[in-house]
Structures are given as C-alpha cells and as structure tokens.
C-alpha cells in the first residue's frame, strides 16, 4: 500500500542539480509501479487508494503515518529517556549525585490554614439517616435540614428502601466489575431504559458517580480541534471535563444567551476566515447552575444551537428530579422535547436520592460512551441496589406529581422571605429549588426580584478565550466567607441546618462568589419551611445587619 502511494505521489519542484537523481528515482519508482501492477489484484488496491485519496487526501496520508507510527511504537519504547533536546545539560555521575543530595522537595501538602481547620471542625456530622429532619452527632438535636439535596423528598421513602433491600438480597452490594467485564447487571439496563423512557430519549447510559459524569462525557466527544462554547458559570465538574478534552474553548457571559449568540457568530466568522474544516461543535451549559441557581432559557438555547448547528450538552444535575411537573427537569418545565438536547446529563444522586449520574440521548451518543467514556469503561458499575433505588425513585416521581407541587410551594415560601431582605442578593432563578445567597455588597440597588447575572454586562465586551467576564463583580472572599459562616452557625444554633458552599479556592477556573446554599425540600411541611425561613432570616439580619 505504501508503494502505491509513492507511485501516485506528487514530486515537488526541485533544483536542476538534483535532476539526475530524481530521474533515477522516478525511473525506479515507475519500475516498481509496473511490477506492482503485474501482481494480480493490484489494480483494486490502486483504485482504492486513488478514490480514497480523492474523497479525503488526508486519510491516505494519515494511514501511512499511522503505519509508520505503529512501527515506531513497536520499535521504540515509550519510556526511553529524552536526551535529544538542545536543552539537555551533560552532567557527570558525581555531579548528578550532588544535585540529588542538594535537592529539597517542597512538602507534599501545606499544613491546614486556620480557616481550613475551622471549616473542618465546623462540619456537621449527621447521626443516623440523612433527611429533612436529621439528628446531629455533636448535640444530639434534631434540626430542620435545608442543606441536603432532597428536592422531591424521596430520602428514606419506605417503598424505595424495601425495593433496595430486595435488590440487596438478590445482588449483594458491589458489582465487582466494570460494565465491560460482567458488571452489566440487568438492573443497570433497566435503569437506563427507565431513564430514557422518563425523559423521552432514545437511550441513556449510567455512570457510578454523578461528579465524574460530565468530566467523562465531555472528553468522550470533544477532541483536540473541536470547538466548545461554554458558559462562564459552569460547574467544577464541567470545567474539568473541558480541561481534559483539549478542545478549543470559547466562553460566553454567564447565562446570557445574547452573549452566546455573539460568540457563535464570532466563531463562525473565525472558522470561515481560517477556512477550517468542519469540526464537531458543542454548546456546554447547565439547566440550573450548580454555582448560583440561575436557570437557562432552554427554548432560546435550542433555537440558537439549531441555527448555528451546534450540539448541545446540557447538565441537568440540579434540575433533574426537581423541576417540571414530575421532575423531568427543564425539558418538562419548558415543554421542549428532550430529543432536541444531544447530551442530557443528570444526577441520580441529587435528583433521585440514589447515586451516580447519567447521560441521555440518541443511541449513537450513548453507545459511543460505552467505549470512550473513561469513567464508564474503567470503573466498576454502580451497586445494584442503588440502581434499583434510582429506578424506583423514577417510578415515585412519575406517579406522584404532588411531591413536586409541594416543592414549588416551599420554594415560594423561602423566596418570599429572602427576596425582602436588603442585606443579601439572591442570584438564583425564582423557580429554582437550589437557592444561593450572596452578601450584598455596598448600598442596596434595584429590586432583588430581578435576576442579576454573574457578569452584569454594561456595554463592555469580554474576551471569549478567557474566563474573565468584562466587568467582573468584585468581592472579598475572606470577609464574605466569614460572614456567611457566622450565619450558618447562627442558624444551626437555632435548629436549622444550612451550608456555606465549599469551594476549592485556587483550583477553580474562576473564583465563584462565596454563598450560602439552600436546597429546599418537599420533605418538609409548609409550616416547617416557614419556620426555617424565619430562622434563616433572623440569622442573616443578625449577622449582616450588625455590619452596618
């Protein structure tokens, strides 16, 4: 095959001095070519190479390179030391010994800072079942819980627990193998089917941890050279997925679809100018943002995605199981068929109070991940009893729309209290059961009912290649975190468990603003929610009020 390529290859222009040599080369090549032709069947090979050359010249080149590369890898060890670079300094053995003796590594980790130590010490430990009214190990007191994800109130559902016990008695706990090697249990297939039916997609694939889902799905599809257009406010898991993918990334202003459109137009122009070949293009964003509870305008997003021919990867980790009539998420809320979303991600740990995450989409999309999703392929499948728990939770949601109606009521109660407070800002969408609370900076301005964006655009344009918004909101992390922690402590003393959002300062792509996170639950009655909201309000007023 390589011979045939040479014989049809184009010789470059050369200087006359080389002519005799070239003459010889071309003569011998033509000899090789003709003797090759005399081999029976050679014409088919040539035709194959020619036509594949025509429809994709790079391919033939690539195949040859691949062959050479394969040979190289066979003959050359991956692990050989690299001495070829110009930068290499030749050293004698004794010099090396000396350098080795002199080298002092930094400590493996820096000791805990006082703030980190305080944070660990303040961590609530729940004794017994987690749920709407858990008992704290430290005080033995029962508290109202607005910190745990239990949106639809499925935690400790007796029916689900019974079914999980049944599964335990049939399957044991662990699956003891990755899905490819006898770790595909019938309940996993059932859960995938249940998810697909619930969302109305062709199929679904499950991962054994929600956090690892996005960071596995994104690099499974987005390769080097592909284009990702992503929201500046995406969650940590998505940031990591984008980081591994090594694709070209363009950022648009947080939850601002006009900015998205500008970026899409910009990318289109850029690609036209570069005459770049068609590559895979993705819009990556979240349904309800984990980082601040804002909600994306799905119909508009889909309109844009279809106009510009992008694939949409929508992470519904928060919105699945919490919004819509039966908890199907944003697609249900906006009445948009889930089939318009190419990759719909969700969390069964958050939405179904079980464990793991999923990606729903077409069969092509899910089958691809069964081979290319790293944390799917290289990790043991989910324990069967948790898969059964998730399946049963879907059944409960589907058959009892009432629980989400209660959730909507409870969210309204909490927002009713928070939105009247001057000392805080609430960036979250009014319908979001995940409510973030910022400390209001400076004198109060405008109504809190208006949903402020992370990067309030005031004319300035942000650079699409950078995560920095044009006019970043400035805040003092340390002070705000301290104030919020005081609020959390105060609320806990009054019997309400809430949590400050724990960030990985220094590891985030851009530092999110400190916030308190309320996860409203249908597991609490309206009365209890009113009481809890009142206590939170009092705590906020007490701590933030005394600031001024």
């Amino acid at each position: 095959m390589a011979t045939a390529v040479n014989s049809t290859g184009v010789l470059p222009d050369t200087t006359p001095a080389l002519e005799p040599i070239l003459h010889y080369v071309s003569a011998s090549l033509s000899y090789v070519y003709h003797s090759f032709l005399s081999i029976p069947g050679s014409s088919i090979v040539i035709r194959y190479v020619r036509s594949s050359y025509q429809n994709d010249p790079f391919r033939t080149v690539l195949e040859v390179i691949l062959l050479l590369f394969a040979l190289r890898t066979i003959f050359q060890s991956r692990t050989r030391a690299d001495r070829s670079t110009k930068n290499y300094v030749q050293l004698s053995e004794s010099e090396i010994d000396e350098l080795v003796d002199d080298w002092i590594p930094e400590p493996l980790v820096t000791p805990l800072t006082p703030a980190e130590q305080a944070q660990l010490n303040a961590l609530p430990i729940i004794s017994g079942a987690a749920g709407p009214k858990p008992k704290l190990a430290s005080t033995g007191k029962t508290v109202l819980n607005l910190a745990s994800y239990n949106f639809a109130g499925l935690a400790n559902n007796e029916h689900i627990k019974e079914q999980a016990v049944g599964a335990l008695r049939k399957y044991g706990v662990g699956s003891c193998g990755p899905p490819g090697f006898y770790g595909t249990i019938d309940v996993h297939m059932q859960l995938e089917q249940d998810l697909a039916n619930f969302l109305g997609t062709e199929s679904a694939i499950i991962y054994s941890q929600a956090f690892s889902t996005a960071s596995s799905v994104i690099p499974a599809f987005c390769k080097r050279g592909d284009i990702i257009v992503a929201d500046r406010g995406v969650s940590f898991a998505i940031q990591k997925g984008i980081q591994i993918s090594r694709s070209i990334v363009r950022w648009y202003d947080h939850n601002d679809l006009d900015s998205l459109e500008e970026v899409l137009i910009g990318v289109e122009k850029e690609m036209k100018k570069k005459r770049a070949p068609l590559t895979r293009r993705f819009i990556v964003t979240e349904g309800i943002f984990e980082n601040d509870g804002q909600m994306v305008d799905l119909p508009k997003l889909i309109e844009l995605k279809e106009k510009f021919k992008y694939r949409l990867l929508l992470d519904e980790s928060i919105s699945f199981g919490s919004v819509g009539r039966t908890g199907r998420g944003l697609t249900e809320l906006y009445n948009v068929p889930a089939t318009h979303i190419d990759m719909l991600l969700g969390s069964m740990a958050t939405g179904l109070n079980a464990a793991g995450g999923f990606c729903a989409g077409s069969r092509v999309v899910t089958e691809h991940q069964r081979i290319n999703g790293t944390s799917f392929v290289y990790s043991a499948s989910m324990p069967a009893l948790l898969a059964v728990g998730a399946s049963e939770a879907i059944g409960v949601l589907r058959d009892n729309p009432g629980c989400l109606r209660e959730l909507v009521e409870n969210v309204r109660v909490v927002r009713g209290v928070l939105d009247r407070l001057e000392c805080i800002e609430v960036p979250s969408h009014p319908a979001s059961p995940l409510i973030h609370i910022y400390v209001r900076s400076g004198p109060s301005q405008g109504s809190t009912l208006e949903v402020p964006t992370l990067a309030a655009r005031k004319g300035g344009k942000s650079k699409t290649t950078s995560l920095e918004p044009a006019e970043p909101v400035t805040f003092d992390i340390e002070t705000e975190e301290r104030l919020l922690q005081d609020v959390v402590d105060e609320a806990l003393a009054q019997g309400v468990l809430i949590s400050r959002v724990k960030r990985l300062r220094g590891q985030e792509a851009s530092e999110p603003r400190p916030s308190i996170k309320l996860a409203v639950s249908a597991g609490l009655t309206r009365k209890e929610v009113e009481k809890a909201a009142g206590i939170i309000r009092a705590a906020l007023l007490k701590v933030l009020g005394r600031r001024r």
């Binding site: 493996l108 987690a130 049939k170 899905p179 109070n353 079980a354 092509v364 948790l386 059964v388």
Partner: protein, 697 residues
C-alpha cells in the same frame, strides 16, 4: 481480490447502525413529545402492576434449590437463611428469564459437609464450601523468590501470525468500509458529516471499534444478574446481525465466575455482612444526600474512615464514592505545574486522568523497572524543569500495588530504597491488592513486611476485595485533613452511600477480627481453624469504631472467617498460576497474585477461547466459565490475553475444573508455549499434586 469474510453473510456484514428495539422518539412537536412520554409512563405502570403479581421465576428456582440443599441450616441463627428469601421479592427488573438447574454441578458442593462438619456459612453458588484445611496458603513475600519471573516470549511463528492477523483484519476492515460506503451508505450516515454537523465519531476514529472489536463483541459486556460470587448468572443472548445488536433469549446460564474482582468472596447476598447492609438501608436509607463538605457527612463515614486507617495501620483515611474518582480527584490536589509525576507505563486510566488534570509534568517509566525509574529520577532531578532548569517542586512516583492486567506486584522493597535516596513522594494505588494479599490482607505493605507509614499516600478501592464500591485515600493526618479540604470529590461529589459504607465496614472488620471479641465463639466454628496466628501488625478492629447497631456473627467477629478467606484466596491463586504454568501456558505475573493472565497473542484465538469456555463442552462434565479477554488498547498490541481473577469463594474443585478446561482449550488453540514439553505435567498430575505445587517455588 476475494473478500474472504463476506461469505459469512450478505449485507448484514455492513450493518453499523444499532437497530432500536423500541419505537424511536423523534417527535416534531411538544404535544407529540408529551403524548409519547405519557405512553412510556403508562407502559411502566402496566409493567409494574404485572410485576407485582408474578414474582421472578429465576429467583424462585435458585432459592428452592438452596433451601432443599440445606434444610437444617435454618435452625442456626447466625447462619440463617431465613432472611435470604423475603417473601415479597418483587424483582425490580423486567428482564425475566428462566434457569433450569435441578442437577447443576455448580449449585451443590462436590464434598458436601457431613454431620460432623460445621454447616456451610453461605450459599454454595455464592461462596463455595471447601472445608479441607490443606487447601490453604498464606500470602507473604519470601526473601529470595524472584519477584518478577522473566516473561517468556512465544515462538517467532506466533508473533508473526499475530501481526499478520492484525494486518489482515485491518485490510479487510478497510475493504468493507470501501464497499460499504458505496453500496450501503445508510449504515455510514452517523459516521459522516451531515447537515452541517461533523460526525460525532468519524469512520476513521471508530475503525478499530467497528471493524475489529465488533467481531468479538459477544465476549464483552455480557449482561448478568444475581450476585457476582463464585458463580454468576448470565443472560443468554443471540445476535441477529453479527454483533451489531443482541437479543436476550430469556434463558440464563449459571457459570463459574473467574472474572469478577471478588477476591475475598464478599460479594454475597446472604451472610453477616449482607445482614448488616440490610440493617443499614433500613436505618439510613440509600444516600447521604450531598457532598461531604456540605451536609453529606454521617457517623457512618467517620466510622468507616477510622476503620480504614486502622486496617491499614496509618493515621487517617478518607473515603470517596468512586474508586476512579479517588485517583482522578486526589492527584490534582497533590501536584500541580512545576511538579513531576513519574508514572508506571501500565498505570490505570484513573491515574492518567488525575495526572492530566493536575497540570504536572509526567514521565512514564518501564513497567516495574526500578532501574529505568532510577535513571529517570537522576536525570529529572539533575536537569530540573524543562527549559528553565529550575528544580522540581515535588516529585511524585505513582505505582499500583498489583497491576490489574499483568498480575505483577510493585517492587516495593526496591522502591523504598530509591525513595530514601531520591526523596520523592510515593503514591501506591492498591485497588487490587488491598484485602487480597499479605498474611493479614493489608495489601502490598503487609505482603512485603514494609511499614505502611513509610508510604506517603496509600490509595485503594472497595469495589474489589470488599464487595462494596468507592475508594479511600490514607496516610498522615495532616495530609488527609488537607485533602479533605482540597480534594474535588469532597467539595462536589456525592458522599459514599450508607449501605455501601456498611458493606465495606463489615467486610473489613471481619478480615481484621473485632477486639475485644464481643461473643465467645462456641461450636459454630471449626476448632481447627481457630488456631489463629496471633498478630500484632495493624491489629484487630476496636469494637468501639463499629456502629453500635452492627451485629456480626461470631465467625466474622473473631476474624476466623476472614483469615480463612485470605488463606483460601492465596491457595487458589497460587494453585491456578502454578498449575497453568505446569500445563505449559505462558502466564504473566507473580505466583501469589490473584490475577492470573494467560497469554493468547493471536486476536483470532481470543473469542474462541471465551466461547469455548462458556460452551462447557471442553471435556465431559465441564461447566460453563465466564472469562475476561483483553486486547489492545488495554494491553500492548500483540500480548492479548485471558485474565482470570481468583476468589476465596472458589473451591479446589472449581480450580480443577478451570485447569481441565484450559488444558483442553490450550491444546485446541495451540496456546502451550511456556515450558518445554518434557517439563510439563498432565492435567491429572497437576490436580493430584495440587498441594505440593502450591508450596513449590
């Protein structure tokens, strides 16, 4: 040129698109979408109703036989089966299938207990009954045994045939694509750019999957049901379209399971550990409802972490809900730009993901080759960072305790020597070795007799020996506390689920034994095996760590059963590894490794091996086996292999069966290229001299 493979079928060969078994949902309007959702809901509801009226047949059959076999057991409370068959076992699955096994040799022990013996503590199909104290061995490193047996090379002819096979497969694959694209363009639609969208997966990228892997797809991702214990129930399936899609036939096959990572046999639906897990579901539900750093920390988490630390003999430990994520979220918290990671070339994908996320520079060293590592260390330390020559901030060497594809143990003694000289930090991933090896099951440190506190970071998973899920990271308290605040999983990932925590806590406690023993074991335990080796090593589990509601049966509390499991696993591993070598196969890895890779080389032989083992017709009285075959890219191109995972749940008779089956298949497929003919033993000789073989070096 002829198309040799097209004889096997007509257009079917070119089929690529997965045929959807259900109606495809491509609604054009929201109303249609809602209608289809409603239809799906109604379906589900109907299914549920049908389900609650008819219990699963499969379960009934299995249990009927179990109860028949051990009617007397019900009277011994600690070993009671009473809880194993809840009356309303309405299985959540609609994958109803039948299993006929009235006389299945896998369900009954070959040497059933006599009236003098203690009754078996588990279902034979989950955990085999094997009471012969001869079939035990203690896994520990013996000075002088060569750690790394030289890999034998196969004859040149085999290598050549392997390369030619791949070339042939690739050539045919391209030819099929060439014609396929012209005559069956529909099947290539999703691989081509269409309507302004680039293909999600181009024909080029997916070539290997479509044209090589697809041919042997029936050997992968076989659906199963029940416990992945000593035996496993596999759904029989057929493919109407050359492995593009599969249909379940509605029949189950019970096969001997030599594939699951169930090293200590704790994958059980019955017994003390499962009872504890059931109790915890009732007490705690299924979820901790959030990340650890918010409100997802329960008393169970702190208890499990204390126990893991105690088990390993280090100061502190942290548990994370997925083994993969334990690596991929911890490594970026430890190293960053300006740091160097030296990673074994065969390290797991999770380590590679973690290193890539960290932004640190990375260099690979040859698998388990300490000379290569030392050379790279000398070079890296002396040269410093590329271009600037600034000294590296930290150097982290990442290795696995037991390599999952190779069956080799890390050369820990040599590594510790290097560590002293070169001052690097050491990260040992003990996913496969923890619980499985060492005289006390504490992993490679225990095996080599090295103080675990000398290793900076110990990582491991619970998915293997403990029959649970998730992973841990352990070391000094300052390190673990810091990791709790900077590890991604602690801030953002769901915490480990309570029943999973209970499973791992109970399994770990029963390996350690619980001190002080809360109950004096009487009668129920074989007195012979109570002669426990008194060890002080990391010691038994203090009863105070365990949740107060957890009541383990005496055999688990005393550590007798855990110890027996360890010694059974060590015996089985060594027996299989040595036996296969004596039969003439090329076997990689160390003799004490429960992972036993048998080299196949030729890609064409892989599926045949797998199918023959499953077909159970290799010799009269053969039983079906499910085996794992691995090839490129999980292994180097030519060294395709079968990987057996031994378990404490296997009996000697099970290993005998496996050896017999391999012996036959090995002859059929010409796989015996290990030791010369005159040194080989016959399979009968291997089986008869098993104990001698195990104690041989």
């Amino acid at each position: 040129m002829a198309l040799p493979l097209s004889s096997s079928g007509s257009g079917g060969l070119f089929k690529l698109s997965k045929k959807s078994s259900q109606r495809t949902l491509t609604p054009s309007s929201a109303a249609e979408y809602l209608a289809s959702l409603k239809a799906a809901d109604d379906d589900a509801l109907a299914r549920e109703q049908a389900r609650s009226h008819s219990p699963t047949p499969a379960r009934d059959v299995v249990h009927a036989s179990a109860v028949n076999y051990a009617p007397s057991i019900a009277s011994t409370p600690a070993l009671s089966f009473a809880s194993t068959a809840p009356s309303s076992l309405s299985s959540p699955t609609t994958y109803a299938a039948t299993l006929e096994e009235d006389d299945d040799p896998l369900v009954y022990p070959d040497n059933p207990p006599t009236s003098n013996d203690p009754p078996p503590s588990a279902l034979h199909s989950e955990f085999g009954y094997c009471n012969n104290e001869e079939y035990r061995y203690t896994s520990s490193y013996r000075d002088g045994t060569s750690l790394f047996p030289q890999h034998q090379d196969p004859p040149m002819t085999i290598l050549l045939a392997t390369y030619i096979s791949y070339l042939f497969l690739i050539a045919i694959g391209h030819m099929r694509d060439f014609f396929g694209k012209r005559f069956w363009p529909g099947y290539y639609k999703h691989l081509m750019s269409a309507a302004g969208y680039a293909a999600l997966n181009s024909d080029f990228d997916s070539f290997y999957t479509r044209r090589l892997k697809l041919r042997i797809e029936d050997c992968f991702a076989r659906p199963v049901t029940g416990v992945p214990g000593r035996t496993i129930l596999m759904y029989n399936r057929v493919s109407p379209d050359f492995n593009v899609s599969f249909k379940l036939t509605g029949q189950l096959t019970r096969a001997l399971n030599v594939s699951s990572y169930n090293y200590l046999g704790f994958a059980q639906a019955t017994g003390g550990v499962a009872d504890a897990a059931e109790e915890s579901i009732r007490r705690y539900g299924l979820s901790a409802l959030g990340p650890r750093l918010e409100a997802g920390t329960q008393d169970l988490h702190t208890a499990a972490e204390a126990l893991v630390a105690r088990f390993l003999g280090v100061e502190d430990a942290a548990v994370i809900s997925m083994g993969f994520a334990t690596n991929s979220t911890t490594l970026p918290a430890l190293v960053s730009r300006g740091c160097l990671v030296l990673s074994d070339e065969y390290n797991h994908a999770s380590i590679r993901t973690g290193v890539r996320l960290s932004g640190a520079s990375v260099r690979l060293f040859k698998h388990n080759d300490m000379a290569s590592l030392e050379q790279i260390l000398r070079e890296s330390i002396s040269q410093g960072q590329p271009r600037t020559h600034r000294p590296w901030k930290k150097i982290l060497v990442v290795v696995e305790g037991l390599y999952s594809m190779e069956g080799t143990f890390v050369d820990l003694p040599a590594l510790m020597t290097l560590k002293k000289r070169y001052k690097f930090y050491l990260y040992v991933d003990e996913a496969h070795s923890i619980g499985a090896i060492g005289p006390h099951g504490r992993g490679v440190c225990d095996y080599f007799g090295i103080d675990p506190t000398e290793v900076d970071i110990l990582m491991g998973t619970f998915t293997k020996s403990f029959g649970a899920a998730g992973g841990y990271i352990a070391g000094k308290k300052v390190l673990i506390d810091k990791l709790r605040t900077i590890n991604h999983a602690f801030a953002y990932a769901e915490a480990v689920s309570p029943p999973v925590l209970t499973q791992l806590t109970a399994a770990m406690a029963s390996i350690m034994g619980v001190a002080p023993p809360l109950l004096t074991p009487v009668g129920a335990i074989n007195t012979q095996s109570t002669a426990l080796i008194p060890y002080s090593h990391p010691g038994p589990a203090p009863a105070a760590i365990l949740p107060s509601w957890m009541h383990l049966p005496p055999a688990l509390l005393s550590g007798v059963e855990g110890n027996t499991r360890l010694r059974r696993l060590a015996f089985n591993s060594r027996y299989l590894s040595q036996g296969l070598r004596k039969l003439g196969f090329i076997i990689y890895g160390h003799r004490d490794s429960p992972i036993v890779p048998l080299l196949i080389y030729n890609p064409g032989k892989m599926p045949v091996f797998s199918r023959l083992m499953l077909a159970a017709n290799t010799y009269p009285g053969a039983v079906p086996f499910v085996v794992v075959i691995v090839a490129y890219p999980a292994t180097p191109l030519i060294t395709s292999r079968v990987r057996f995972c031994m378990s404490a749940s296997h009996t000697k008779a099970d290993v005998d069966r496996l050896l017999r089956a391999c012996d036959r298949v090995g002859d059929l497929l010409d796989l015996k290229h290990g030791c010369p003919k005159h040194e080989r033993w016959t399979v009968d000789e291997v089986i008869d001299r098993a104990v001698e073989l195990v104690h041989m070096d």
